[in-house]
């Protein structure tokens, strides 16, 4: 399949389908990585995976749409959670950080895509920057909740190893997918 010029209808469809993609990541119980036998929840890799797959704008809209669906009461977060409770909870910042995560990872991947198909190193960088962006929102939010930076940092540290694995997996997936279906990142015309 060759690169295609993207239309507003395609943009809308891509946004909707990737919002659904985020939801499906939450429906799956977990993915086994290597031989550890421990399933890791995959939903929070969705934002930066979307960013490096379809670019900043559509990924951001997809994340916003997904979060809106969660907020109005659909149980789409991992473990069937939904409604407004996850947003006011201690990890609400990590949820809102997904928007920044999709934006940052998408912008980096798109900048690279303008100079040809993005390679694995730049995709790794983009996904990692997306993860950092999520923590930039999530950790201070948690600190406001717990009233102290030290507890917020200690509490978040547990998730770092798993999240780094997700960054690598997302970059691997994106590099293979971009080889199979080129031209997805640039997609939207600049108006």
């Amino acid at each position: 399949m060759s690169a295609r010029a993207s239309s507003p209808a395609t943009d809308l469809a891509t946004t909707v389908v990737f919002a659904a993609f985020l939801a499906v990541l939450g429906l799956f119980p977990g993915v086994y990585v290597g031989a550890t036998g421990v399933p890791i929840v995959v939903q929070n890799m969705g934002p930066f995976l979307a960013g490096v797959l379809i670019g900043a704008k559509r990924a951001v809209f997809a994340v916003v749409l997904f979060l809106a669906l969660v907020a109005i009461g659909l149980p789409l977060l991992s473990g069937g959670r939904g409604g407004l409770a996850p947003f006011v909870g201690p990890s609400g910042g990590f949820l809102l950080g997904w928007i920044l995560s999709a934006l940052v990872s998408g912008l980096i991947a798109q900048a690279a895509a303008r100079r040809g198909r993005p390679g694995l190193p730049v995709l790794l960088l983009a996904a990692f920057a997306g993860l950092v962006a999520d923590y930039v929102i999530g950790v201070p939010w948690l600190a406001v909740y717990t009233g102290s930076w030290s507890t917020a940092l200690t509490g978040s540290l547990v998730f770092v190893p798993g999240d780094l694995v997700k960054v690598v997996v997302a970059a691997l997936i994106a590099s293979v997918v971009h080889r199979a279906l080129p031209g997805r990142l640039v997609g939207t015309r600049t108006r």
Binding site: R4, S7, P8, A9, T10, D11, L12, A13, T14, T15, V16, V17, F18, A19, A20, F21, A23, V24, L27, F28, Y32, V33, A35, L49, L53, K57, R58, F61, F66, A68, L69, I72, G73, L74, P75, L76, G80, G82, G83, L84, A85, F87, V88, G89, P90, V144, Y145, T146, G147, S148, S150, T151, T154, G155, V169, I173, V176, V177, A180, L181
Partner: protein
């Protein structure tokens, strides 16, 4: 996923209160809970929210127990860390804050139908329509996305079957790459179906994906192919 989402049907005063009013009360309550630092007031807020659950007659076993289990787990995890690092007083405050705001948000979701929330949000965003935000598209977007969740779940299931048949069920890429490729293809197909119905193909709204005419076809028509 149930078609009703997390809504718990009922006819209590709380169910009949307009969604906008409940949302405002929730906003005030959550803000107050974050600002107030006295355990007595926070405990009072918890009692108030618990009374709300009684008034709304939320089914005890199917809805309240799972919520209590989540709250307890969070309280133990967060509380233990706080007691260890900051002492009893602030641990108690944090746990009460957590319980009050999570339970209140849950109560809103349990007593408010999704279409009522959509209608309220559309009305609240109405004044933004002059800036190019199409609030009236929200209902269509919700419908389309829920449809896409169903389709992608089916795709994920068949891809996982295929990976299992090849004995590759433990390899993340053997599942993920075909799944993502078919997700992107589905987006193309949906895009063609939408374009065929004239949805999203006018250029007078510069806001990007969430644009389209009011004569939008309902989602789930025969324009979509399910792979």
């Amino acid at each position: 996923m149930t078609p009703l989402g997390l809504y718990s049907p009922g006819d209590s005063p709380l169910h009949r209160t307009p969604a906008g009013a409940k949302l405002l009360v929730l906003l005030v309550l959550v803000t107050a809970v974050v600002i107030v630092g006295s355990p007595a007031w926070l405990g009072g807020a918890c009692v108030l929210v618990a009374a709300g659950y009684l008034v709304a007659r939320i089914p005890w076993r199917r809805r309240v127990l799972p919520l209590l289990r989540t709250l307890l787990l969070l309280a133990v995890l967060v509380g233990a860390l706080q007691v260890w690092l900051l002492g009893w007083q602030s641990a108690l405050v944090t746990v009460l804050r957590l319980a009050a705001s999570l339970a209140a948000a849950g109560l809103f979701t349990l007593t408010t139908r999704i279409d009522a929330v959509v209608a309220t949000v559309e009305r609240a965003l109405g004044p933004l329509s002059r800036t190019g935000v199409r609030a009236d598209r929200l209902g269509l977007l919700v419908g389309l996305t829920v449809q896409a969740v169903t389709t992608l779940s089916a795709i994920a299931g068949s891809v996982r079957e295929a990976a299992r048949a090849r004995g590759a069920e433990r390899s993340p890429t053997a599942f993920a790459v075909p799944f993502v490729v078919r997700t992107l293809r589905h987006a193309d197909e949906l895009g063609e179906a939408l374009a065929a119905r004239g949805i999203g193909d006018e250029d007078d709204h510069p806001t990007g994906p969430d644009t389209g005419p009011d004569t939008a076809a309902r989602p789930g028509g025969n324009g979509r192919r399910v792979p």
